[in-house]
Amino acid sequence: MSNLSSSVKKAISIPYRIKRSPTDLLKALSNTVKLDPNTPHYSLIDDSLLTSINPNDVRRSYLSKASGIKAAKFMIEKYPEAFMKDDCVPHVKSFFPKYEFSEEELKYPTENLIYSLMSWGKLSLAYDSYLKCKDQNIEVSEECKHVLLDLLSINNSNDSKEKVPIMEEWYLKGQTRDMESKPRYIPANTWVKGGKAEQMFNELKSKSAASYCSLIKGMTKYNDAENATTLYNEMKHYNLTPDLNTINSMIKIISLSPPEVTNDKKIEIMLQRLNEIKNYGMLPNLKTFNTCFELIKSFNLFQRSVPLTLDLFKEMQNLKIEPSLSTYSHIVSIFYPNRDIGVRTGVLGQVINEIEKMAQSENGLVWKDVDDPLFFKIAMEKLSLGTPENLPLAKKLNGILFKENNIKFLNDSYLINKYFEFYLTTLIKFDLPENVIDEWRFLTPYIYGRSIIILDRMIDFVSKNKCFDFVPELWSNCLEFKSKRLSDFWSDTIESLLNIMGQYEEDNQELISKYSSIAEIMIKNYPYAPLRIETDSEDDLQPLEYNWNSKMLSNLFIVLLRGNKLEAAWNEFENYMKNQNKIAGELSEKSILNLCEALIGANRIDNAFEVLKLAVSLQLPILKGLISKLRESNLSSEQHTLLKQLKNKLSL
C-alpha cells in the first residue's frame, strides 16, 4: 500500500531480522537476574515470620508440597472422569489421567495396540500383548519388537517409572549421592535375570548388533557385569560390531569385577576395550575417557594410576576432545586419593585455573556429562583438607561457582550442603575472622541452610578468636535451628558461648545488656533441673535436662551480674543451692565474689550471708576479703557475732 503515496523518493533499506529461537529472548532476560543472598527461594517466600530458615523446615515444606502433588495425582487417577475437560493448548499429557486400557481393547492384540501400550509406559502389558499376537499368529514387525526390547532393557523388564516431583527428587537424588559417595560402596546387581527383556531378546528371529547393544546397555545400567560380559563376547563371536556407547558401558562395569581380579588385570581389560574401539574404526568420545578415569579412580591407592591418567589425558588432547567438569573431578580424585597424598603436586591449582578459563570463555561452563556436578564438591573437599595456601584457591573456586548461573551445577541437596560445608570449613580453618563472618552472613541461611556441624565449627571459631560482637547473632542463628531436643548440642553451645561472654571485659553497655539477656534465656529455656510436671500419662514429653557444669554456672553469674540482673542471678543461686548434686565441680571464686559484692551493694545482707556460707564450705582464699567487706555494711548483732566467730576460725 506504500506505493500509493506519491512522495516516495528514496528506497528505504530495512535490515533483515536477526534469527532467534523462541526461548532466546527469555534466556537473555533470565541471564540478567543474579543471585540475591538476602532472598529465600521463591517457593519459600512468605510472611517474614513464616519463611522457613533452617534446613529441616525447608525440607519439610518442600516434601509436603511434593506430597500434595502426589495426592493430587492420586485423585486424578481415582476419579479420571472428573478431569477429562481439556482446556490446555497445547495439550499437556501429564496434567490428565492416564489412559486405562479396557479388557475389550486388550482382547484383540495388534501391533498398533503394542505401540500405544508402549507410549503409555505399560511395558508388561505390551509384552503380554506381543505374546498373544504370537499365539494368534498375528504378524508383528521386527521394528516393533526392537522398540519393545529397547524399552524393556532400559526399564529392567518393568513398566516405565513415574517421575517424582522435582522437590522430592532434590532430596532423593541427594540421598543416593550420599550413599554412593561413601568409600567401598559397591552398587548392587539389580538386573532381573531371565526377565521380560531377555525373553524378548530370545524372541527375535535375527539378532542384530543393535538388539545386542540394547540388552547389554540395560544389563550394565543395572550392574550385571557377568551377564553383560558374556553377551558382549557372544556378540564378538558372531562378528557383530557394537556401538560406542555399549563399549563405554562395558568399560564402566570393569570396576564391578570380582575381588580376585587385580587392578593390573582391570587396566588390561580397559586397554583391550580401547583397542577394540580403534579396531572397529571408531573414535572415542568424552564419555569413553570419563568412564576410563572413573575406573582408575575406583582403584584408590594404586601405583600406576597417576601415569596412566596422564597418558589418557594426553591422548584426549591429541584427539582434541575438550574435557568436561567430570573429567577434572575424576583427575582430582585420582591425584588426591586420601588426606595426605597429593597435597604437594599442585594439580588442584592447575585444574582450577583450567576451569576458570572455561568459565571465562564465551559459552561459560557447559554441562557435558552426568557426573559434572560432582566437580565443585570434590575440589572443595580436597581444598579443605590441605594447607593454608589453598585459601585463595578455595575463594577462586567459589568465585567461579557464583559467576553467571554456575550454581546450577550443585543440583541436589547433598552436593549443595557438602560443598558449602567444605567451603566454610576451609574459611574457618585458614581465614581471618572478619572475612569468615562476612561470608557466613552472605551464604546463610538462604543460599545454604546451616547444618549442625558447621554451626558447631563456627561456635568454636568464634570462641577461639573472641569475636565478641558476633556472639548475639550466632546465638540467634542457633535459636533459628529450632532443635531444642538436641541436648548435647545445646550443652556444648551454651558452654562455649558463656565462656566467651564471661571473658568480655570492655565497656560496651549495649553488648553487655545483650549478653545478660542471652544468659537469662539460656538458663530459662535450657535448664539443668527442669520443673517436672507430674502427669498420669507416661507419653507426655518430659522437659529435657541439659548438662551444665560449675564453670558454665560461674560464667552465667558473671554475665548476669555485669548486666545488672541481680534478681535473676540470685534466683539461679538459690536454685543451685537446691540442686548442688546435679552440678559437677565448684563455682569459681570470681563469680562468688561478684555475687556477694552485688548483694552487699544492694543491701541484701541476709542473702550475702548465704553466699558467704557457700564460700566458707568451699574454703575459698577470698574469704577474708569478703568478711571485711561485710563488716563495713550495716549488720545485726547476730550477724556480727557470726562474722567474729568466722574470723577467729580463719585466724586459727
Partner: protein, 366 residues
C-alpha cells in the same frame, strides 16, 4: 515416685474413670427419662426460641415482610466524638523482615527481578497506602505497609525501575537491528509507511497459550495519503461511516470476524482496497446529488447563493454574477453561513453571521 504408689495411682485413675463413665451414663439416661415423662404432661413449658426483636416496623411488600439484617441492630445514637475509640497497637518495625538485612549498595534488580505483588518484607521504603476517615484514626496518617492489603491490590512497578530497563534492554540488544537511516522523523515514517496495523498479544498464567482477543486487527490510515480527489474522498468517507475520524483525518478498520490474526489482517487489507476502488468509481446516479446528500454545506451549490444574488442585485445594482460574488460583504457572509452549517451554532458564529448580514443589508446599528 515409687513403683507401689505409681501402681495405686494408676488403679485409682482407672477406677475414677470407670465410675465417672457410669455416673454420666446414668445421669444422662435418667435425665432424658425424667424429661420425657414431664414433657409428655405439659409440653408448653419447654423453653421457647427467642424471637427476634426489631427496632422498627418491618416493611411489607405484597403482603410479605421484608427481612432486613440491619434492622435489629441498635442504632448508635451517640455522636461520633463520644464513641469509644477502637485502638489498635501501633505496628513496630518487623524485626524478622528482609529489609533489615539489606545492604545499601545492593542491586535492586536481583531483589525484585520480575513483576510480583507487593511484599512488605522486601521493600525497604516507608510506603503508606489506604484511607483514613479523619485525624482521629491512625493519627490522620494512611496505614503503614505492614499487613496492608491496599498495597497488594494495586499494581506496582518495582520490577520496572530505570536500572531494570537498562539491564534488560542491554540483554536483548543483540537481537535488535539498526533503525533505517532514511526514516529520521515521524513524518518520514508516515509518508513511507502510511498504514498502521495494531495487534495485541496476551500472555498470562493459565492452561492455554491461546487467547481469542489476539485475533483482532486494527488498521489505521490517513485519508490524505490516499491522494483521492474531492468527490472520491467524500464517497469514501460516506462509505466508511463512523470508521472515519474527521478530527484526525484517520480511517480505522477493526477486523475480528476470522479466527486467526493473519486472516483478519488480510481481510482488513481487502476492505481498504475495496473501499479505495469503490470510491474512485463514479456511478451515473452520483450526478443526481442534492444539497441534502452533501456531507458539508456548500454555498456555491445552495439556494442561499441565489437569494443573496437577488438581494445584491436590488441593493448594489450589480447584474454580473461573478462581480457580485467577489464582493467583500458577500464573501464574509458566505464564510460565516458555511461556518454555522458546518461547525454548528456557537455564540461567536452567530454574532459573526449577524454582523455579516447587517453589512450585507447596509443596516447601521446604534
Amino acid at each position: 515416685m515409687s513403683l507401689v504408689s505409681k501402681f495405686s495411682r494408676a488403679q485409682s485413675s482407672i477406677f475414677t474413670i470407670n465410675t465417672c463413665v457410669v455416673n454420666t451414663f446414668f445421669s444422662s439416661h435418667l435425665n432424658t427419662k425424667f424429661y420425657s415423662t414431664e414433657s409428655a404432661e405439659n409440653a408448653d413449658e419447654r423453653p421457647a426460641k427467642k424471637e427476634r426483636v426489631f427496632f422498627r416496623e418491618q416493611d411489607e411488600v405484597d403482603g410479605f415482610k421484608v427481612f432486613d439484617v440491619y434492622m435489629n441492630k441498635k442504632k448508635d445514637e451517640r455522636s461520633f466524638d463520644q464513641r469509644v475509640k477502637r485502638t489498635y497497637p501501633r505496628v513496630q518495625r518487623d524485626r524478622f523482615a528482609r529489609y533489615n538485612r539489606m545492604p545499601i549498595d545492593q542491586d535492586w534488580t536481583n531483589v525484585w527481578p520480575t513483576a510480583s505483588p507487593f511484599k512488605q518484607t522486601a521493600v525497604p521504603l516507608p510506603v503508606r497506602q489506604g484511607f483514613v476517615k479523619n485525624m482521629i484514626e491512625n493519627d490522620g496518617l494512611p496505614p503503614e505497609k505492614y499487613a496492608n492489603v491496599e498495597l497488594i491490590k494495586i499494581p506496582n512497578f518495582l520490577h520496572l525501575t530505570p536500572p531494570h530497563i537498562k539491564k534488560q534492554c542491554g540483554a536483548i540488544k543483540k537481537f535488535c537491528t539498526p533503525w533505517p537511516k532514511e526514516l529520521k522523523t515521524d513524518e518520514d515514517c508516515e509518508k513511507n509507511f502510511p498504514i498502521e496495523i495494531t495487534t495485541s498479544t496476551y500472555i498470562y498464567d493459565g492452561p492455554s497459550v491461546r487467547d481469542d482477543r489476539a485475533r483482532v486487527v486494527k488498521l489505521q490510515i490517513k485519508l490524505s495519503s490516499l491522494n483521492l480527489d474531492k468527490r472520491s474522498n467524500d464517497k469514501l468517507i460516506k462509505l466508511a461511516e463512523d470508521r472515519y475520524d474527521p478530527a484526525t483525518d484517520t480511517l480505522t478498520l477493526i477486523t475480528d470476524r476470522c479466527p486467526y490474526r493473519r486472516q483478519n489482517e488480510d481481510y482488513a487489507n481487502y476492505l481498504l482496497t475495496t473501499l479505495y476502488y469503490e470510491s474512485k468509481q463514479c456511478e451515473d446516479w452520483e450526478s443526481e446529488i442534492t444539497e441534502d446528500d452533501m456531507r458539508t454545506f456548500e454555498w456555491e451549490k445552495s439556494k442561499s447563493k441565489e437569494n443573496i444574488l437577488n438581494t445584491i442585485r436590488n441593493i448594489e445594482k450589480i447584474e454580473d454574477e461573478t462581480q457580485a460574488v467577489n464582493l467583500k460583504q458577500v464573501k464574509t457572509y458566505q464564510n460565516n453561513l458555511s461556518k454555522i452549517f458546518n461547525e454548528g451554532e456557537t455564540d461567536t458564529n452567530i454574532l459573526q453571521y449577524k454582523q455579516s448580514v447587517l453589512n450585507l443589508l447596509k443596516i447601521k446599528t446604534a
